[in-house]
Assembly symmetry: C2
């Protein structure tokens, strides 16, 4: 039996074209049903124009569009016929098994929380981004769902990310680090000192505070931070990687042999570029909601969309939500954890 994945065709900087192309790629590679949720006429026109088969997809009309900078709560409340609300409602009604969107992140988080509700025991959802590093992938949670985090939210993020790494990233006892401005337990905001204590008494493989310069080192499997800091950290990493790489190429090109060397190293450089390309890692799972929701980068191209759909399918193969619920309840019943929360 194949899964049914709903894809938000209206969300993302290059929507609907790149999103539909991503669906076409996914359809070729996976044996799943893909439900295109968006402006029906636009979708059909695009598929016909590019000679893609209409019968490969289920098309669901969602004539309204939520723009990237709309208020999450207002957009979800007022645009009932938007792709985000329609797709999430289908997921709620179990008409689809998962929902993938590269649209307004806040609106996706809001719609998911309202419609799907949270997993028992979880208080806030968190976006877990798969960050390409020197040693593979680190999971950074949260990168924008929750900018005002309490200790319990951050603690749950660590637990959820740990479960995710075990189930899907083949790590037996994933290391968990707390993004902070110093390694010592006494560093940083009060809320982080409390989370440090919670992680320390928990059964997680907590490796302590992680300094921001280690973000891309790959030394830590799960990196916990609030959504504001996570979002800033990722965008700085993205921006500086681009600027450094460009400046490097410019410096090489000032010299003829440098230029030739660049040309001849083209394949190695492309391979390197691919290894740090977010698109290769698809979307970021929204952990904590009672369903499968994958959030893609606003700049997603067709490859990123295809990979986001693959992330959804991977999650469907094992019951993530039950595992998270069980682990959170287990850990939060621990007497030492309860003592810290009570203090």
């Amino acid at each position: 039996m194949s899964y049914k994945i709903a894809l938000d065709v209206s969300g993302g900087d290059s929507a609907p074209d790149e999103i539909i192309e991503g669906a076409v790629l996914a359809k070729k590679e996976l044996n799943e049903d893909i439900v295109l949720v968006g402006v029906e006429k636009e979708i059909k026109t695009y598929l016909n124009k590019h000679k893609h088969s209409l019968s490969d997809f289920i098309i669901v009309d969602a004539p309204e569009k939520i723009e990237m900078n709309e208020s999450p709560l207002i957009s979800v409340r007022t645009k009932k016929k938007s792709s985000i609300v329609v797709g999430m409602e289908m997921h709620k009604q179990k008409e689809v098994d998962a929902f993938v969107s590269c649209g307004n992140t806040g609106s996706v988080v809001c719609a998911a929380t309202i419609k799907l509700r949270l997993i028992e025991g979880v208080e806030r959802p968190g976006i877990a981004l798969m960050l390409p590093t020197k040693q593979g992938v680190s999971l950074v949670i949260d990168v924008g769902a929750n900018i005002d985090c309490k200790a319990i939210h951050l603690f749950h993020y660590g637990i959820m990310a740990s479960v995710y790494c075990e189930l899907f990233l083949n790590k037996k006892t994933p290391s968990v680090g707390l993004l902070n401005i110093g390694e010592e337990a006494s560093k940083g905001l009060e809320v982080l000192k409390k989370v440090h204590k919670l992680f320390t008494v928990s059964p997680l493989n907590f490796t302590g505070n992680l300094e921001a310069k280690e973000l891309l080192s790959g030394n830590c499997d799960c990196i916990v931070c609030d959504g504001f800091v996570g979002n800033i950290a990722l965008k700085v990493a993205e921006g500086s990687a681009e600027i450094i790489a460009k400046s490097f190429i410019e410096a090489m090109k000032k010299n003829f042999i440098g230029k030739v060397g660049l040309f001849l190293s083209k394949n190695n450089l492309l391979e390197f570029k691919r290894s740090i390309n977010y698109a290769e890692y698809g979307g970021a799972p929204l952990l904590g909601v009672d369903g499968i929701v994958i959030i893609g980068h606003g700049r997603s191209n067709s490859l990123a969309v295809k990979n986001a759909i693959k992330v959804a399918v991977r999650e469907l193969k094992r019951d993530l939500t039950k595992s998270i619920s069980r682990r959170i309840n287990d850990i939060c019943q621990n007497s030492r954890v309860r003592e810290i929360f009570a203090s």
Copy 2:
């Protein structure tokens, strides 16, 4: 008449060697008196061993050392004979005109606030880092003095940075941006929404929220953020620049011609490396205290130390503290600014 600059010889990862070497470089280049504050015996031994003239410097004994991870308040209260406390006390007593340290940042901020006090009107000091960008230098404030910022602190940071840019970085109407997770005024934490309003009605050249991917773009002269976020952002930038540059070089080296190209582009690459090297820009002024305090990177080498001393001398040539005080009082008396604070 020459200025007297006190230098903390005990602070920094490579203290005292690199710090003393920095003083030697500064002494050669500048016509100022440099006061070495640290363990007298260590300093004399080092100077003698490396055949530097003892008579070039004034040496002040400070036998205690504050380690990098000591608690700021406790270290300053208990280690009265540490280089940080002794040096700051000399500055307070006007025995020196400025104090430069690459030691425990928290302790330097704490000692400066206690001993020198704050400029009239200012509520919190902020560290203003000169960040090398594609278009010169951006001033990022705060990068670690104040991790729990109120709106008024961030607002003052923007004003102080703006004054600094005008006086020392040759910018007539420096642009001021607020580091945030989106460009729209409605984005981010509540405190940032208030600061956005304050900047908007102020006479500063406020260019709105700045997304983190623009950090290194150089599009903004003064970048305002709280000390936690600023510290994380900088360290991510530093860490990713290193990792990307290394990976780039590795990719080039996989191929013989790539290797040759790298070798022949050596000078261009070194020039590029220098342009993004924090050491070239010296230390970060601690703005808001009633004195001249320059904080160097913990990893400072002799070049960085010399440049930090140069930053201090530059500040001494114009009265920064009076300019800051005047500007803050002017702007904060504005009726629209007062309305927002009252709301």
